[in-house]
Symmetry: D2
Subunit: 508 residues, 4 copies
Amino acid sequence: MQQSGNEENFMQPLAYRNIDKHLPVLPPKGEIYDECGVFGLYKTDGDEELNGISITHDALLGLQHRGQESAGIAVNNNGEFSTVKDVGMVYSALSEKALEDLPDGKIVIGHVRYTPLNLLDSSGTQPLIIRYIYGALGICHNGALTNFKELKDKLEQGGAIFQSYSDAEMIAYIIAEQRLHAPSIEDAIIKTMHKLRGAYSLVVSSPNKLIAVRDPYGFRPLCLGKIGNSYCFASESCVFQSVGAEFIRDICPGEIVVVDSKGINSYFAYEQNAENKTSLCMFEYVYIARPDSVIDGISVYNARKRAGELLYLEHPVDADMVCGVPDSGLDAAQGYAAASKIPYGIAFIKNKYIARMVSMPQKEKKKRLLNTKLTALAANVKGKRIVIIDDSIVRGETSKHIVTLLKNAGAKEVHMRISSPPFLHACYFGVDVKNEDELIAKRMNTQQIAEYLGVDSLGYLSCESLNLIAQGAKVGFCDACFSGKYPLEIPKEIFVDKFSEKIRFTEK
Amino acid sequence: MQQSGNEENFMQPLAYRNIDKHLPVLPPKGEIYDECGVFGLYKTDGDEELNGISITHDALLGLQHRGQESAGIAVNNNGEFSTVKDVGMVYSALSEKALEDLPDGKIVIGHVRYTPLNLLDSSGTQPLIIRYIYGALGICHNGALTNFKELKDKLEQGGAIFQSYSDAEMIAYIIAEQRLHAPSIEDAIIKTMHKLRGAYSLVVSSPNKLIAVRDPYGFRPLCLGKIGNSYCFASESCVFQSVGAEFIRDICPGEIVVVDSKGINSYFAYEQNAENKTSLCMFEYVYIARPDSVIDGISVYNARKRAGELLYLEHPVDADMVCGVPDSGLDAAQGYAAASKIPYGIAFIKNKYIARMVSMPQKEKKKRLLNTKLTALAANVKGKRIVIIDDSIVRGETSKHIVTLLKNAGAKEVHMRISSPPFLHACYFGVDVKNEDELIAKRMNTQQIAEYLGVDSLGYLSCESLNLIAQGAKVGFCDACFSGKYPLEIPKEIFVDKFSEKIRFTEK
Amino acid sequence: MQQSGNEENFMQPLAYRNIDKHLPVLPPKGEIYDECGVFGLYKTDGDEELNGISITHDALLGLQHRGQESAGIAVNNNGEFSTVKDVGMVYSALSEKALEDLPDGKIVIGHVRYTPLNLLDSSGTQPLIIRYIYGALGICHNGALTNFKELKDKLEQGGAIFQSYSDAEMIAYIIAEQRLHAPSIEDAIIKTMHKLRGAYSLVVSSPNKLIAVRDPYGFRPLCLGKIGNSYCFASESCVFQSVGAEFIRDICPGEIVVVDSKGINSYFAYEQNAENKTSLCMFEYVYIARPDSVIDGISVYNARKRAGELLYLEHPVDADMVCGVPDSGLDAAQGYAAASKIPYGIAFIKNKYIARMVSMPQKEKKKRLLNTKLTALAANVKGKRIVIIDDSIVRGETSKHIVTLLKNAGAKEVHMRISSPPFLHACYFGVDVKNEDELIAKRMNTQQIAEYLGVDSLGYLSCESLNLIAQGAKVGFCDACFSGKYPLEIPKEIFVDKFSEKIRFTEK
Amino acid sequence: MQQSGNEENFMQPLAYRNIDKHLPVLPPKGEIYDECGVFGLYKTDGDEELNGISITHDALLGLQHRGQESAGIAVNNNGEFSTVKDVGMVYSALSEKALEDLPDGKIVIGHVRYTPLNLLDSSGTQPLIIRYIYGALGICHNGALTNFKELKDKLEQGGAIFQSYSDAEMIAYIIAEQRLHAPSIEDAIIKTMHKLRGAYSLVVSSPNKLIAVRDPYGFRPLCLGKIGNSYCFASESCVFQSVGAEFIRDICPGEIVVVDSKGINSYFAYEQNAENKTSLCMFEYVYIARPDSVIDGISVYNARKRAGELLYLEHPVDADMVCGVPDSGLDAAQGYAAASKIPYGIAFIKNKYIARMVSMPQKEKKKRLLNTKLTALAANVKGKRIVIIDDSIVRGETSKHIVTLLKNAGAKEVHMRISSPPFLHACYFGVDVKNEDELIAKRMNTQQIAEYLGVDSLGYLSCESLNLIAQGAKVGFCDACFSGKYPLEIPKEIFVDKFSEKIRFTEK
């Protein structure tokens, strides 16, 4: 790990550890990254035959789309934690041999991570296991704290040391601190929630309890399932089908749910939601979550299809075929096709096999990755007027490549439709946008983007329509990345801290 | 490698070598396996800047669906061959470091392999490089010889030894033998073609030439492309788009095409096709090839879509949604939807991330693989009458699982339609069917299969319709796996040789 | 890592991480283990061409005998730390690729570790890099704190969390705490030394300084060298020859030496040594250190040879050949031979190649390891009366095996001589003895041991003689493991903490 | 593998395959390389509990000094062969998991290889398993054929193809050919021996038999042992002690020993030794074999010690200490010390831990390897007149480094003594000398070498004395590398074939 020598600089890239040479170079999933998936299982007495490690492994596989940079599983056997975790995807980080060597335990928690800094770094792999005055804690976190710097400064002034400066390590510190004056772990976590600001969906294991926590805004999803008589928590409901669990319900914003030998209990950290305003991330519906998940009452697939329908209403066009960019544009394309009555069709073949690239200049490598990942289905494209649907445009490079593929394949017209509004603002709640300045919509208006991409027309979904796609959800939404309206104040320093130039530290 | 001690037994499983522990357990692609993909590039003078190794690597990535058990690249630098090959998929077998260490060369050939015996074995990895009286030869093969045993017996009676008993090794032996009495390598290969029976699409590199060969029946595809002024050969045209090549034409059945410093030349091994009967494998259109490939003049995507249309004509049904089993049923589903006017929709989400399974009994493992690989999209399935399209049913287990997923997701009716006829007969030309006895269609009639699967109705495409899906192709077809009509006689012993019980060898 | 859920239990085995499958099973070096080696280099301006990473790598290779369970290197480039570290030996943990990817920097520190718990665990690999209010710190530690539990309890009562509960993490915490009220890092370290009890030889890198620290007792060695105009610190002087450095001097007990851009400075944390009593570990001379090291003025080789001479004076015997058990008994055997005039000879061949054992019951595995590691040289042993010298007897099993080998090889008599006194007491200062109860000398007297081993006679060096082997050293000695006279009081709880039965933690 | 395109060129470097990145860079053992070790076990009925794979693994570990470039084990289970083999040392090539996956079998054979071309190449790893008209054969070979080219030319003219052009592949071809006209495998092997010229110690497994073969000159050692009621063969007797076997006797030159279910039988391929002249390689005694082996009746240790004694008689000197260069000079040093009455002492510490070098220019890397591998023990060297014994000088670079280390450590005088004559001639029987032109003794006389090395005196053992060191052996000797007297005629072409410039192949 590379760690900077100055507090202004703690979020700088945490660089290379002894990286497994067998890790393939992953083709970028896209240009926007979600951050982390969490899972936890508490095996109720009588369910001993459940293979908790297998279940957690399979759940992480089903959450892999939420984080491909590290994966980990921790087993809690009556207060003793055993962990397997490493950088890499599930198949690589969680080797069969290592999982076999794990002891069994009543509680198993798991995590997949995406780091905003895009470097393979083992120092922040989760589950994070710490020991403090009341024993051990295992923590899995999805989200992003906005008052990280403020918390850090205060802790450091008390002598704290950090080994990774991850949100999870910070949360562990706050829990340990609060636990000193709290009668129970539940109480300490409630006190902790009042200290934290920002997005956090947590799965925590104390020696005897499995605890799920969702921040009062409900930025990230978190839900409860049941396998036999045992309870489990997951970032997304899609995993329940894979592991044989039944979906019970979503964890509410501001709620903590505790499972232990006495059963399941729920607490709320706030009288009501602090400001009566919940704000689930709209981007979960648009892009991040798997279509077979249901979040806060709304099917992700249906939300995307609805986005496609609304997109047609806002930006109709006469064409021969509606296509989606695989995989993220396919669902909205179904909606656009249904609303427009234009036939839905396949324009692209996505190579599902992973690549490892021969060394070459970075730029050429990226181009090769795109070329080997996606090919146009000329036989179905040639001579047609195509409506091509994607979920978003970030820097515009990939979209431009897609348009070129269609044109080269003989498309007569290419009409691009985007199932979300222009992406204009940084996210501070757990979605990574590399650099606000690289956002094409910051630099160009829609007409200019259309010209840059070489499309015959371009249309984005409006913010108004976006807010309709998940109508009926049990929560409110955050659309700050599109609208700039942040549901809570963003400290000026958070940004400096995370993305500033490197500052050298000199001793006084 | 495990090698049997008796000539009756040479095709027995060639077992474990020092297997890379990092290899993930691959979820089975299906229950029918195609065998191998080939590629070759000859860099014409002036095209030195072409990175032949990168191009071949990317081409193999595009052919990965044709073989995931081993991958290899050989560079021929003025008669010196350097090879990187290993068991595993492209990303694992062809490491970045190893490819970087390869010298450059005018000729590069590559291969991905599927072995019918489903065991990781390094002894038969290709390209096979051999040295004989006229120097070295590199050989990449896709297909299966039917007179293997006859050729082997004869060679062994002359003192031959075999290190893998692969078709490629056999072909190398025959070329070496024929070359003794032939004035040129081209002539030796033509003589060799007259000795071989069965399916073979070859890319061969002699010290100074790159040679493509397609058997007189044209069982397997093989085509010619051009990058700059340089020529390349590939099993499927889909790779040309990825590597920046232009599709030129298919290699004809019985043709050999030779590229060397003097240019490109074509020869035919037979006056006419031996029996005026070419027989491209129909299963290439139905399942094996990538939809963005064009084989012998017909788009694979269009053939599949057409299969779906014909399937509707033969087996119409009243329903709410037409869905495909990902990925192989999606194209035919488009056709069925178009013909029936029933909306096309998405019923399944396929997890694209690869898994590694914690040890457990084999059966449970398979079930877990299915569960984590495919989930039903309940939001879109619930309450609907579903037409579900797949390309084939082999043993029926996977189909049964798919039907169960749909039912559990709330489908009101499930009508299964198969875009090919019942699979009834073994293939001897390069498609692997584990065991004829395991074919469900051998044991049950359609009604019984429908009951076994639990579907409301079941319909297969007829052989007559199948022969229409690629109408207009420049070749005839082999549909022996459906019809039992083999285009050439199958020696009785080939089967014994490959699938017989193990026989112990005792010295006399 | 396996981490226990209770503060009584923090030193329990930290179990499996994703262990590199390529790690060979290491044949046990012996039954007593030293703990860790440290190195640090500060490149003075003008010495830019020095390859600090290569030098540190080679130094760690030379310290490998001090720790084979993990290895790590950290580069400090103007306050930014980059680290490569992993479980395993130097060749395995520090891959060529990872080292190449490290940036260059003025300061490089390195560490090899042995953990007393004999489990491969990545959580405590060093260098430990932490960030605190004044930037980052890199810490490499050799030794053991005796007031660990006391410090831990106090810190936890202030809300501290621990991720590994290693001494290094504890020392980092104390430095961070002291730095809050200290004008400089040097001052903070001096204050820290007054908080720590026990053995610690540290190499610390602050953003701009390289600092070496030796506890006031001087339990573990630490010395200063010079390469060109640059300074380096190492656990043992033997590495200087390998890296082209000149030995300057030992760090004094209680001294801290600081190198920065202004040069090199020395400070003492105590007016005098606290109790005017220094206590370098005698076992460094007897077994741990490499014979080509010079510690506190005395050559390790000469000390061992002298031990052999004194051993003869105490336990003479009439014999045909004096032999050493490779490698640790060879030097003392030279001394015994010289003193006795009995010819020195070779009785054993040690296989230097490392093994990986096929799975089998643990006991049989150990026997096989011994069998493949050591063979008797029958041609030189047969018919002779042998004096066999070893450095110590711990459990007696290995010694018994050695005697058996000699007898089987035809030795007429076997006289065992041990170049140290009976090993009777646990060490709390950095040498690991598995379990005091397993010490054969605790359970049997010398006569009984001789009978158990099957030797014709057995003699140990006396404590009196032992204290003469390094006569003239600049420090006093600790011989507590032989004499039971600990140079400082051992808190009762340290032992409970580290070796107690596992205690489950239950929430109140 | 890199394979050349021309028959003149078949022995050119066979280059990189997908090399395991975890392989450490091996410090060169020296500058002369022996080639291969073989082992075989036949489990007699009743000895089923013997773990043949473990035994063979441990035996290969004991033969590791004979070859570190690849290792392999093959199990023959009633005619079915299963193999684990790969490039790398035993611990790396034979992974625990792979060995566990091997089936059990009556016959197990194993091999460690050194290739003269010093490149990691998997194509020639052994045991080589081939199938031919009479079933399968497993072959392990130690030696070198001198009529390889002649045999190859003839076979190729019959249409043979080669996949590695190793001696083992050639021997397999000849056996297969001879077997066509032989009533039994034994007879075929006897016929084969009459075709082969040069050095070969073979362990062969036919479906039901384990066969050991030693060429009529007996160039390489091969011996027979017994474990329980089962027989085993090994290159050196030293492994018997490790695997619990009893040494029975050496295989005689020209003998074949066959073990099968009926017992053990011996045959001789020649009436008498063809020319009544056996010629065991003297270099086995001088350097290659382990000192605890006994070859043809003579202890290797005793031979080396005797060499040291004779060396003193030929080149006495007045000095303070006699030292050996570890490890190969230690035994002769014992002899020199005994004869001269000068005390034997330790001058060097050899670091037994393996290294992996950070990339740097090759030359600097070699220097670093030497520096980290060997350090002078200054405390024992300073001010002394040293006699330093080594087994041979090849290029002189390592010797020069050793002398420099001694001088830097303060040696007053350095007298080098070499326990063999000047190395002047290439070996064609299995010992690799990189390049005759690089032999320092070819270019300089002894006085010049002494000056180049910077020693005060230099003395070699004479050929006459050399022939006395193994006096009483049951065989004659080959000392051609010293004397130039080759026991059989060396075809001119063998050398051209193996070391000639690369020749490009152009098709006619």
